[in-house]
C-alpha cells in the first residue's frame, strides 16, 4: 500500500465522496460523512489509502435534547504513511442510535464497539458479539450518556441470588463535594496539591444542567 500524504487523502476523499464534508479539527484531517456512507468510506480508506490500523471507535453525546444527539467517531491510522484520520457520522436515532460495525474490516474494532455500546448505548449493526464489556449484562443504563449522574443510579445487583443473600444493591457513590479534577496547568503547589472540585455547578445535590 502506498504511503498517503494528508493533503492527498483529503482531496481524494472529497473527490470520491462528495457527501463528505470537512470537520473542524485542530490536529488531523477529519470528515463528517452521512451514516449510510460511513462504512463505504472506511472500507475505501482501508483498501485504497492504506489506513490499516483501527485506532479507536467512540461516540459523542451532544446532551439530552440535542438532535442529532449522538455522533459515532472512527479514528484510523496508517502504519505506512504515519497519518491519522478521523471520520465522524451523526446517528439518526436520538434514543437508540445505530452505527454499522466495522469488525469485518478491522478485528480491533470488536472491543471498541462493545465499549461504545456499553457506555454510550450506540448499537453496532453487524457486530458478531455485541455484549457489554465493563458493566454487567442486563445493566439498564449507559453510564457515559450525559444525563447519567456521575454518582450512579441505584440498581439491583446482577446476581439476584447474591442480592437476596446480602441485601446489597448497586448504590450511587458518595461524591463528597466532587467531581474532582486535577489542575490542568500541572504546576505543583503544596497548598493546592489535592485535586479540587473546580466545577461545582453540578454534583449530587444539584442536578446537571440540561442541554438546550
Amino acid at each position: 500500500m502506498t504511503a498517503p500524504a494528508a493533503a492527498d487523502v483529503t482531496s481524494a476523499l472529497q473527490a470520491k465522496f462528495p457527501s463528505a464534508t470537512s470537520r473542524p479539527s485542530v490536529d488531523h484531517p477529519a470528515f463528517n460523512v452521512p451514516m449510510s456512507e460511513a462504512k463505504t468510506v472506511l472500507q475505501w480508506l482501508r483498501d485504497e489509502q492504506g489506513f490499516d490500523f483501527m485506532n479507536d471507535v467512540t461516540g459523542i453525546d451532544w446532551a439530552e435534547g440535542a438532535s442529532p444527539r449522538f455522533t459515532t467517531v472512527w479514528h484510523l491510522y496508517s502504519t505506512t504513511g504515519h497519518l491519522y484520520i478521523r471520520v465522524a457520522a451523526d446517528n439518526a436515532d436520538d434514543e437508540n442510535p445505530v452505527a454499522p460495525s466495522v469488525v469485518d474490516l478491522w478485528p480491533a474494532a470488536n472491543w471498541h464497539e462493545r465499549e461504545c455500546w456499553d457506555l454510550m448505548g450506540i448499537k453496532f449493526d453487524g457486530h458478531p458479539d455485541l455484549r457489554r464489556i465493563l458493566m454487567w449484562e442486563g445493566y439498564p443504563h449507559h453510564p457515559l450518556r450525559k444525563e447519567f449522574p456521575l454518582a450512579g443510579i441505584e440498581t439491583e445487583l446482577p446476581d439476584l441470588e447474591v442480592a437476596a443473600e446480602t441485601q446489597a444493591k448497586a448504590i450511587a457513590a458518595p461524591m463528597a463535594g466532587g467531581p474532582f479534577v486535577a489542575s490542568s496547568k500541572g504546576e505543583m503547589n503544596l497548598t493546592e496539591a489535592e485535586p479540587r472540585a473546580k466545577d461545582e455547578s453540578w454534583n449530587e445535590k444539584k442536578p446537571k444542567p440540561h442541554a438546550d
Partner: protein
C-alpha cells in the same frame, strides 16, 4: 501387693507425650497458625499480596503461605483490589463457597471503602457484601501492613471462643 495408683494429676512418666490443655486453646492454636488465604486479587494490591508470598516478606513465617486458589480449601479471604459491581457477585459466591470458619481481610483503600473511585461502577467497600475482620489502610498497602493485618487477625482468632456456638 499392688498399690492402687492414687495420683489424679498427669504423670509424664506414665502417660508419655501428652499435654493437657483446653480444647478451645488447641483449636484456636491450630486455626491461628495454619491460616490458608484465598487470594482475591483484583487490582494493584494483588501485586503487593504476591510480594508478601515472596522470600523477602515471607508470609510462611506465619503459616499462611498456602495460597489456595480454591475456596473449599481456604479460610481467610484477602480482598486485594478494587471491587466493581460486575465482580461483586462472584466475590460473594467465592466467599459463600469457603468452608466455615472463615475470615476476610480487606486490603487497601479500594476494598475497604471504594478508595478514590467515587463512581457508578465501584462497590464502596467490600463490607457491603461480605463481613470484614481486618481493614488494611494504604493505596496500595506495603506488604508489612498486610502481615500486620494477618497478625491482628490471628490475634482475633486466638481470642474467639471456637466452641461457643456449639455448646452455648
Amino acid at each position: 501387693m499392688v498399690t492402687p495408683n492414687t495420683d489424679v494429676a498427669y504423670d509424664s512418666k506414665i502417660e508419655g507425650d501428652i499435654v493437657v490443655s483446653r480444647l478451645d486453646a488447641v483449636v484456636n492454636w491450630i486455626r491461628t497458625n495454619s491460616m490458608w488465604p484465598m487470594p482475591m486479587g483484583l487490582a494493584c494490591c494483588a501485586i503487593e499480596l504476591m510480594a508478601v508470598g515472596g522470600p523477602k516478606f515471607d508470609i510462611a513465617r506465619f503459616g499462611a503461605e498456602v495460597m489456595r486458589f480454591s475456596p473449599r480449601q481456604s479460610d481467610c479471604m484477602i480482598v486485594a483490589g478494587t471491587v466493581t459491581y460486575k465482580m461483586a457477585p462472584h466475590l460473594r459466591r467465592i466467599y459463600d463457597q469457603m468452608a466455615e470458619p472463615k475470615w476476610v481481610i480487606a486490603m487497601g483503600a479500594c476494598a475497604s471503602s471504594g478508595g478514590m473511585y467515587r463512581s457508578y461502577a465501584t462497590l464502596q467497600g467490600v463490607d457491603r457484601i461480605v463481613p470484614v475482620d481486618v481493614y488494611v489502610s494504604g493505596c496500595p498497602p506495603r506488604p508489612e501492613a498486610l502481615l500486620d493485618a494477618l497478625v491482628k487477625l490471628q490475634d482475633k482468632v486466638r481470642k474467639t471462643p471456637s466452641f461457643k456456638k456449639n455448646f452455648a
